[in-house]
C-alpha cells in the first residue's frame, strides 16, 4: 500500500481505506495533500504531502540583489505578505547593522497589526465556510474589506504592499490618516463583536468545534507547535515578547492564551487577537514619534542574521546570509504552517472523517508560505 511504500509501517485492525484529501478541495484555501487512512469513518492516520506551489523563490537570491529581493519575498504569500517583507528587511538590516528610525518601527508595527487583523478575519470566514455557514463567511469578508481599503489607502495595494524596504519604509503615513484609521477601526468593533459572538456562543457552531482535535500542552511542546495552535493549548509562546522586531515592548503587549486545546480554544485565541490588534494600533498611533522613515543603505551584505517574526499564523524564521556581494548567499524563510503540519497530523489521528476539514483549517494552513 502507499503508506508502506513511503517507508513507514502501518499497524491497525479492521478494514482500512485510503482517502486522498486535496489538493483540490472546497474548504482548502491552498493545495495540500493528505492521505487519510480511514477505518469506518475514523481517521487512523494522515500522511501529508506538499509541493504543489513550490516556486523555488529562495533561489532567486542569486539573480536579484538584496533590494530587489524584498519584492520577491513579500510575494511568497498574499495573506502574510507584510510579515514576510518586514522579516526579510529586518534580517538584512541586522546583517548589515543598520538601525531603522523610530517612526519607521512604529509604522511597521501598525501595518503588521493591520495585516494580522485582515488575516484573522479571512480565517474566520474560511472556518465558517468549512462547516457550511456561508452567510457568516460572507459577512466576515465584508468586514475585512474595510481593512483592505485602509491598506490600499496607505500603502497602495490591497494584499501586496511593496512598502517595506531595507532601511525603513518607502512611503510615509501622515498623522491625520492615522487618526482616521483608528476611528474607522473603532467603528468596526461593534460589527466584529456581532460576528464573533456567533462563533463563540452559537450552539450549532460550538457543536462542531468543542472537543474536536484536542492537542494537549505536552503534545504541543513535543511537536513544537507555533502560533495560535500552541497558544490555544496553553503554551506561552509569542515572538512579540522578544524585542527583535517592532515596538511591542512600548505598547504593553500580553499574549492571548487559552488552555482547552481544541478547535474552539484556537478560534477563541484568534478572535481575542483581533480585538487586541485594534487596541495595539490605537496605542501605537497615540505614541508614534515624528521623524524620518528610512535610512540610506549602501554597500554589500556580509554576515548572517536570523530574525523571528510573529506572523498571524505563528513564529516565522528569516535567515539571511551574505558573503560580501550585493547578492545574498542564502535567504531562508521558515513559515509557521511548516511547523504546524506535524501537529496537524497528530490531531487528525482518531478524529471523524467529517471533522477533517475543520481540523485542517484550524491550524490556518498557508501552503504557499510553506513551500515558497
Amino acid at each position: 500500500m502507499e503508506a508502506e511504500q513511503r517507508g513507514r509501517k502501518v499497524v491497525s485492525m479492521g478494514k482500512k481505506t485510503i482517502i486522498p484529501f486535496g489538493p483540490q478541495h472546497p474548504v482548502l484555501p491552498e493545495p495540500i495533500h493528505l492521505d487519510l487512512v480511514v477505518e469506518d469513518e475514523t481517521v487512523v492516520e494522515a500522511i501529508p504531502s506538499i509541493g504543489f506551489i513550490h516556486r523555488g523563490l529562495e533561489k532567486l537570491v542569486e539573480t536579484k540583489d538584496y533590494n530587489q529581493m524584498a519584492y520577491v519575498i513579500e510575494r511568497i504569500c498574499g495573506i502574510c505578505s507584510f510579515g514576510h517583507g518586514w522579516g526579510y528587511c529586518a534580517s538584512v538590516e541586522g546583517a548589515m547593522n543598520v538601525k531603522v528610525p523610530e517612526r519607521a518601527e512604529y509604522l511597521r508595527t501598525i501595518l503588521h497589526e493591520l495585516s494580522r487583523l485582515h488575516s484573522h478575519l479571512l480565517w474566520l470566514g474560511l472556518l465558517a465556510d468549512g462547516f457550511g455557514f456561508e452567510s457568516l463567511f460572507m459577512h466576515c469578508w465584508r468586514i475585512r474589506e474595510t481593512v483592505l481599503d485602509i491598506l490600499e489607502r496607505t500603502t497602495g495595494g490591497r494584499v501586496i504592499f511593496s512598502i517595506c524596504k531595507v532601511g525603513g519604509l518607502r512611503k510615509d503615513i501622515d498623522d491625520e490618516t492615522l487618526k482616521e484609521i483608528v476611528e474607522i477601526l473603532n467603528g468596526m468593533k461593534a460589527e466584529i463583536k456581532e460576528i464573533t459572538d456567533v462563533f463563540l456562543e452559537d450552539d450549532s457552531v460550538k457543536n462542531r468545534m468543542c472537543g474536536v482535535g484536542v492537542l494537549s500542552k505536552e503534545d504541543a511542546m513535543e511537536l513544537c507547535a507555533v502560533g495560535p495552535v500552541a497558544r490555544g493549548s496553553g503554551v506561552e509562546q509569542d515572538m512579540r515578547l522578544t524585542n527583535s522586531h517592532g515596538v511591542y515592548d512600548q505598547l504593553d503587549f500580553e499574549p492571548m492564551i487559552e488552555t482547552a486545546g481544541d478547535c474552539y480554544a484556537r478560534c477563541k485565541v484568534r478572535i481575542r487577537e483581533v480585538f487586541q490588534s485594534i487596541e495595539l494600533i490605537e496605542k501605537a498611533v497615540a505614541k508614534i514619534p515624528e521623524g524620518p522613515i528610512s535610512v540610506d543603505v549602501k554597500g554589500n551584505v556580509e554576515g548572517e542574521f536570523i530574525t523571528r517574526m510573529e506572523q498571524p499564523r505563528g513564529e516565522a524564521f528569516y535567515y539571511a546570509k551574505g558573503a560580501g556581494s550585493k547578492f545574498l548567499q542564502r535567504m531562508r524563510v521558515r513559515t509557521p504552517t511548516n511547523m504546524n503540519i506535524p501537529a496537524l497530523v497528530k490531531t487528525l489521528q482518531g478524529c471523524d472523517l467529517a471533522d477533517v476539514p475543520i481540523l485542517v483549517l484550524t491550524i490556518d494552513p498557508c501552503i504557499s508560505c510553506t513551500e515558497r
Binding site: K64, Q68, M69, Y71, V72, R75, F133, S135, L136, H139, R142, E145, D149, E152, R153, T154, T155, G156, G157, I160, S162, R170, K171, E194, I195, D197, V198, E201, D202, D203, S204, K298
Partner: protein
C-alpha cells in the same frame, strides 16, 4: 440553548444596500495611492536606462540608440522602484490598473533621442598633467563622457550624493573628483545638481594655460586649506524673506546651516561657499 444568534445580522443585511459593486457596469473609485500602472512623460525622458536596471521584474527595456522605451505590462509588478529611481522624474504611478486582455501587451513609447549639448571646440594639445578631465576628453569614443571643470569645482560632493549609480567619488579635503565610467549612464542628474555648473558631457573649455594654473592652484589650496574656506564667499541671509522651510539646511553638503524657526544660523568655518543653498531657496532669501 443559544440558537440563531446570527439571525439579527441576517435580517439587518436584508434591508441594507449590498456590499458589492456591480462592476464593470459601476466604475470603481480608485484611491489616491493605488499602484495601478506606470505612465511616462515622454518629453522629459533622457533614455538613461536606470529604470530598466532597477526593475525587479525586468519589465522595462530601454533602447538608447533607437529611442524606444518599452514596458511589458503583464510583467510589471507595480512596485514603483522605477518611479523613485528616475532622475528626471518622468515616470509616475497611475491609479488605474492595466486592462485585462487575452494577450500580454508590450507598450512601446517613442522617445526623442536628445544629444547632450557640445561645448566649444576642445583644445587638442592639453598637457598631460592637467588632471583627469583632459585625459578623458582626448579619448576617441568618449565624446560625451562626463567631465568636470576642476578649475571651478569646489568639491562639494553634491554630484556624488545625487548620482543614482554611485559613479562619482568626491573628496573635499583631498580635492579629488573621480568618475567611474562603467557605472555612469550619462543621465545628467549631477549636471543639474552642480551649484558651480562645472560638469558637462564632453571636453571642458579649459585650455592649456588654465590647466597649468589649475595644477598650481591645487597645490596652493592644499597648503592653505583653512584660508580658502574662511576667505570663500558665504551666503547672506535676508530674515524678511526667509520662510524657515529648512531646504537650505538639507541641501548644504557641509551641514553649515541651521534653519530653526526664527533662528537661522550659518557656521562660517564649515561653509565652503558652494552656493547650493542659494540655488535651492524657494523664497530667494539667500545671496552669495
Amino acid at each position: 440553548m443559544k440558537a440563531f444568534k446570527f439571525a439579527k445580522t441576517v435580517l439587518k443585511s436584508m434591508f441594507k444596500k449590498p456590499a458589492t459593486l456591480m462592476y464593470p457596469v459601476v466604475e470603481r473609485e480608485w484611491q489616491d495611492r493605488t499602484r495601478g500602472q506606470i505612465g511616462i512623460e515622454e518629453d522629459s525622458c533622457i533614455l538613461c536606462g536606470i529604470c530598466a536596471k532597477r526593475c525587479p521584474a525586468d519589465a522595462i527595456s530601454v533602447d538608447r540608440k533607437d529611442g524606444k522605451w518599452e514596458i511589458e505590462r503583464m510583467r510589471c509588478i507595480q512596485c514603483g522602484e522605477c518611479v523613485e529611481a528616475c532622475p528626471k522624474k518622468c515616470l509616475n504611478m497611475e491609479k488605474q490598473y492595466t486592462e485585462p486582455g487575452p494577450e500580454k501587451v508590450i507598450h512601446v513609447h517613442e522617445i526623442e533621442v536628445k544629444k547632450p549639448a557640445k561645448p566649444a571646440a576642445p583644445k587638442a594639445d592639453a598637457p598631460a598633467e592637467s588632471g583627469d578631465a583632459a585625459a578623458e576628453a582626448s579619448a576617441d569614443d568618449a565624446d560625451d563622457t562626463l567631465v568636470c571643470d576642476l578649475n571651478a569645482c569646489v568639491f562639494c560632493g553634491l554630484c556624488a550624493k545625487n548620482c543614482p549609480c554611485d559613479a562619482l567619488k568626491v573628496d573635499r579635503k583631498e580635492k579629488i573628483w573621480e568618475l567611474d565610467e562603467d557605472a555612469c549612464v550619462k543621465c545628467g542628474a549631477c549636471i543639474d545638481k552642480c551649484p558651480k555648473k562645472c560638469l558637462s558631457f564632453g571636453a571642458p573649455a579649459a585650455g592649456a594655460e588654465e590647466a597649468e594654473e589649475l595644477a598650481k592652484k591645487v597645490e596652493d589650496s592644499e597648503a592653505a586649506d583653512e584660508n580658502k574656506a574662511a576667505a570663500a564667499v558665504v551666503p547672506e541671509f535676508d530674515a524678511e524673506k526667509c520662510i524657515y522651510c529648512g531646504v537650505c539646511e538639507n541641501q548644504c553638503p557641509c551641514e553649515a546651516i541651521s534653519a530653526e524657526m526664527d533662528a537661522w544660523t550659518l557656521d562660517k568655518e564649515a561653509c565652503i561657499g558652494c552656493g547650493a543653498c542659494v540655488d535651492v531657496c524657494p523664497a530667494e532669501a539667500l545671496k552669495m
